[in-house]
Amino acid sequence: MFKRHWLAYAALWCSGLITMLICLGIVLFLVVKGAHAISWQFLFTDPLPSMNEALSGGILTPLIGTVLLTTLGIVCALPWAGATAIYLAEYAGENQFVNALRTGIDVLAGVPTIVFAIFGLAVFTLPQMAMFSTIVEGVDNAQAFGRSFLVAAITMAAMVLPFVIKSIEEAIRSVPPSYKEASYALGASKWNTISCVILPAARAGIITGVILGIGRIAGDTAIIWLCLGGSMNMGGQQPWWMPQHWVSTLRHTGSTLTSYVYFSSPAGEGNSPGKAFGAGLVLVVFILLLNAVVSYLGRFTAIKEDQ
């Protein structure tokens, strides 16, 4: 029997192994090409505007941009996603209206990030939204510039919303019902049960959802390119790290690791592939670490459920 179908089995083995090899190949290629670019100097100097690869500086501002943007984005997304997930898991029943809400959120998960990006631009270029970015001066129909850290963070929050909702809802649903029943038996109200029993018990799952959201924000380029602008350094008042300039920094353009990779690749204007691979390696290591934390947390919850 096995002999007759050896070709089919060989094909199945091949497709499994090819998938693994592609992944390992990409990661190894990044390490080989990017490792020699990485040094303390590369990590801790600003990018310099130069076509010469040796003079084009490091990735300090993109690195800080990624950290700043993921923090801002997840801070915007978490309360919103958390509230929605709690409602869907604990309050909403099973009826047509709730089904419609769930479909709306599912559809949101399928919208391409480039559409979110152009939507963010459409909303935040409205003159009423000028507080999030800057005003374009010298134009008749006064529009806001619509590109800043705040704009990108809010757009990112909308983009990751459905994914964070999904994983928090799952985490809440996986809390054993006996916890809830015990809390009700002690006379606790519904909200007290949720805030003091269910959310702490679902902690690991909620952190997993947050980390997934961070990974998505850190890895997205389309929203960065349109809503944060393509400038390599911080666009606000200099020096940008002074506390009195923080607001100005948030309202101006900047860069993240993804936009740095795009800019430095042969497709962008910087054209220094060595630097692009270095920044790409830093980005992938960041995302690998996030994934490692997720699988560690997953193992932790699995152990807890066994006991």
Partner: protein, 347 residues
């Protein structure tokens, strides 16, 4: 006796007040509970109607171009020259004529091409993972699939541009071929083929994850029944597992399609960025021609945003993407909803 009446009096005066405080505290608590519920419901409704909010803002800006071109927007070509004309047009004579046929066809060609690679490979990988994979290989394989899903699209674009594109340029494109095509498009390796390869690696993981879930959901009893009848493992996979998991696999393919049509950055790097309409009559050179997709047009032409005509045209591209992704999501929910019903009735 006196003490007793005192006590009764005390009780008579005390009880109502205690009852009153209990009721008002209880009412306050009830009010708080209700308020929290309504607050959470408001957030939920806001998340659900965000999609309509997006549609409103994107479509509103696209309307002028759709009004000026009608259905011609997706039936006419010449995007690149029209875009330049609108870009250079004087402010009092804006040029509203746009034809996005090359972008639409570019999106369709790259998406279908990516599915042609990703579906067989991904299905093979999913079957391997569920049925054949030895236990020691399971964790490495699932980890790498998850990792492939987590790698940012710009990394795929970069690796595609440094590895895939030069390989195509050096091995497949001959000087003669490039000379023949010189009037149509420059063949430099950035092509439909490169886009297909890069895109298939990007949509592979989501398809593998969803179709292996569907295969795992096939009830164990089905497989056992097939083995009891003496049917080989391969025929069981082919005749029992795949047909039962069919709808889940289709839903996975639909979601992977949605991912493929919306990919902007990686494709803007490897697809060539020329709004060229490849022709099947060129034979196999078709696969080596550069294209531009709807999503990558928004990235590549984003400098045009400051001119209102160009901006509206880009919003029209976004509208096409948005509507097709919504349609695909609804279709996938519909198909997998049927799956859920089907499994419930089977078990």
């Amino acid at each position: 006796m006196k003490e007793h009446s005192d006590l009764t009096a005390a009780l008579a005066t005390a009880t109502p007040t205690t009852a009153n405080t209990v009721t008002s505290a209880w009412r306050l608590k009830q009010f708080k509970e209700k308020a929290i519920e309504y607050l959470l419901a408001t957030f939920t409704v806001m998340s659900a109607i965000l999609i309509f909010f997006i549609m409103y803002f994107v479509i509103r800006r696209a309307v002028p171009v759709f009004q000026a071109n009608g259905i011609g927007f997706i039936l006419r070509g010449g995007w690149d020259t029209q875009f330049m004309t609108s870009w250079q047009a004087p402010a009092d004579q804006p040029s509203w004529i746009f034809g996005a046929l090359p972008l639409v066809m570019g999106t369709i060609y790259t998406t279908v091409g990516a599915l042609l690679i990703a579906v067989p490979l991904g299905l093979g990988c999913a079957i391997f993972l569920v049925e054949l994979c030895p236990p020691w290989l399971r964790v490495p394989l699932t980890t790498t699939v998850r990792l492939l899903a987590a790698i940012p699209s710009v990394i795929y674009g970069l690796v595609g541009l440094i590895v895939v594109v030069p390989v195509i340029a050096h091995t497949l494109i001959t000087n003669q071929m490039a000379m023949n095509m010189i009037n149509i498009a420059a063949l430099d390796g950035t092509s439909i083929l490169a886009s297909m390869i890069v895109l298939s690696i990007m949509i592979g993981p989501i398809f593998i994850a969803l179709s292996s879930d569907a295969l795992r959901a096939v009830p164990r009893s089905y497989k056992e029944a097939a083995f009891a009848l003496g049917i080989s493992q391969w025929r069981t996979i082919l005749k029992v597992m795949l047909p039962v998991a069919r709808k889940g696999i289709i839903a996975g393919a639909i979601l992977a399609t949605g991912r493929a049509i919306g990919e902007a950055i990686a494709l803007s790097m490897v697809s060539g960025g020329v709004a060229n309409l490849p022709d099947f009559q060129h034979g196999l050179v078709f696969f080596l021609e550069p294209v531009r997709t709807l999503a990558s047009a928004i990235v590549n032409n984003s400098e045009g945003m400051i001119v209102s005509t160009c901006e509206s045209a880009l919003f029209a591209c976004a509208t096409l993407l948005l509507l097709s992704s919504v349609a695909l999501s609804v279709m996938a929910t519909w198909v997998s909803g049927m799956v859920r019903k089907g499994v419930r009735s089977h078990v």
